[in-house]
Amino acid sequence: MSDAVDLEELVDWLRRFDDRIQDERAHLTKLDSAIGDADHGANMARGMTAVRELLDESDLDEATIGGLFKQAGMALVSKVGGASGPLYGTFLLRFGSSGGDRTNLDAAGLVDALDAALGGVVARGKAEAGDKTMVDAIEPAVAALREAIEDEATVAAATATAARAADAGRDATEPMRARKGRASYLGERSEGHVDPGATSSALLFRALADALESAG
């Protein structure tokens, strides 16, 4: 069980995601101004502030992954509005459902929970890889994580690999033409811009890698 991820590390992950969202707020908004409606930074910052408040108030000794991530997902959904609230909210809700009553996940359990979370985002947004959305960062990240774990990498190393895959997925959205969300109304004019949703999703995986590295 030495190579497991416990609830404290998962909470650290969400806190680090909040930090990164607050730091990158202006950048996310700038990306969203180019092809969306210029509210992604503000919306995510508002939502993650609510998640952090919830984490600060929670008694981790009594919490389960399922309970805590469902509450965090609902906090996000309740505060954000727009599309990113339901999408990130569903990500956390599904991650929580997969974690269930457990308080830690082994490597395979982490892959399963992230895969379930990805499935939730795909189902909610009806987006596929290549549509220039969050999925373009999350899907390669989960695939890279699974492959690294199957190759018996440590969880810390595997999540670092996943973060790099998410970054690459984010960068790959630049030439894409958006087929979902408000950016899709731009047609070919959406080409040449990095997707703001893929950018925040890459931050999510970077935060996970950082949380597990520091726990290492």
Binding site: V77, G81, G82, P86, G89, R182, Y185
Partner: protein, 331 residues
């Protein structure tokens, strides 16, 4: 930016206080930002809940009242409301006959209403949803989020509201809503941008001698930018893509010339005169007209045209009494 506001972050909450003060026939839940009728409808009737980003007033809150909506959820400016709001509204207005959610086709609105309907499902309230998508400016919908919901939403809320008031059941109400959406087409144009209060500057730049054709209701770009032209030509530019998309010569039509918020009624009526001339030439019978600012985009100058194919039944529902801040007749 010069606006009649206190704090850009409090615009919606502050405006709701004004709506509450001005309309004793409405009740405002300030915590959830939901506008209700002060007098709920009677038991056994289907209730209608709509909502969306703020900045489109009178849509949706101005259409709450007898003959139209039971509740409207107000989001931040141009941002969808959240499921908590729709769930609170749905539970509150259900009179045992179920609730119809009326949703404009934008990614955020659809997802938030979807989540609310999923959660409400566990609460023993039957929820059905209609999504409006009448904006012909969005093409190639296989590769986009699909057509946007615009002007037909106003006409749908009126017609479906009348059906619910008559006691039509939820399946019947939903069927009428889908019929209205299927028969409606819209196209808009902008002469100026709008200024979102929290952004503080115009969403896009438009030169003095240009207009944007195919604009949505959030300052999102349209189909193309063209040199400014006389109203007669603008009317043609709005009408042609609508008639290319749907045949309106089969029966009576409701013609709706909507202001985006920043164009005077004088110009809206002038535009409507041009549109009517073209409709007459095209052999289209206009049974009813609506001209004014009903689904707006903050202070954007410009207008949209919506045509809705109707039959005698839909016309009867259109003519039925309505008593809301935004639409009122026969009551």
């Amino acid at each position: 930016m010069k606006k009649l506001i206190n704090d850009p972050d409090e615009v919606v909450a502050d405006a709701l206080r004004g709506i509450d003060a001005a309309h004793p026939e409405l009740r405002v839940d300030h915590e959830h930002k939901v506008i209700y009728r002060a007098e709920p409808k009677t038991d056994g009737k289907v209730a209608l809940v709509s909502g969306g980003g703020s900045g489109h007033e009178p849509l949706h809150g101005g259409f709450v009242g007898p003959g139209m909506l039971d509740a409207a959820c107000a989001g931040e400016v141009f941002t969808s409301p959240v499921p908590d709001q729709m769930m609170a509204a749905t539970t509150e207005v259900d009179r045992g006959a179920g609730v119809l959610h009326i949703v404009k086709n934008y990614t955020g609105d659809v997802m938030n209403f979807d989540m609310a309907a999923e959660f409400a499902d566990g609460d023993d309230v039957r929820v059905e949803t209609v999504v409006t998508d009448d904006d012909v400016a969005v093409t190639d919908s296989l590769y986009t989020a699909g057509r946007r919901g615009v002007g037909v939403t106003v006409l749908l809320e009126k017609i479906v509201g009348a059906a619910a008031e008559e006691g039509t059941d939820l399946d019947g109400v939903k069927e009428i809503a889908e019929r209205v959406n299927a028969g409606g087409r819209s196209m808009g144009l902008a002469l100026t941008s709008c200024v979102v209060p929290s952004a503080g500057e115009p969403t896009f730049d438009l030169a003095d001698d240009e207009y944007e054709l195919g604009i949505g209701i959030h300052g999102e770009p349209g189909r193309e930018r063209l040199p400014m032209a006389p109203a007669a030509e603008l009317a043609q530019r709005l009408l042609t893509p609508i008639l290319d998309d749907h045949d309106f010569t089969d029966g009576p039509t409701i013609a709706f010339l909507n202001g985006m918020g920043g164009s005077p009624l004088l110009e809206l009526y002038l535009m409507y005169g041009e549109v009517r001339r073209l409709l007459d030439e095209a052999g289209i019978t206009v049974a009813r007209s609506l001209v004014g600012n009903y689904i707006t985009s903050l202070e954007m100058a410009g207008c949209s045209l919506t045509l809705l194919a109707v039959d005698d039944d839909l016309l009867r529902l259109w003519d039925a009494p309505v008593s809301t801040p935004g639409l009122r007749w026969g009551a």
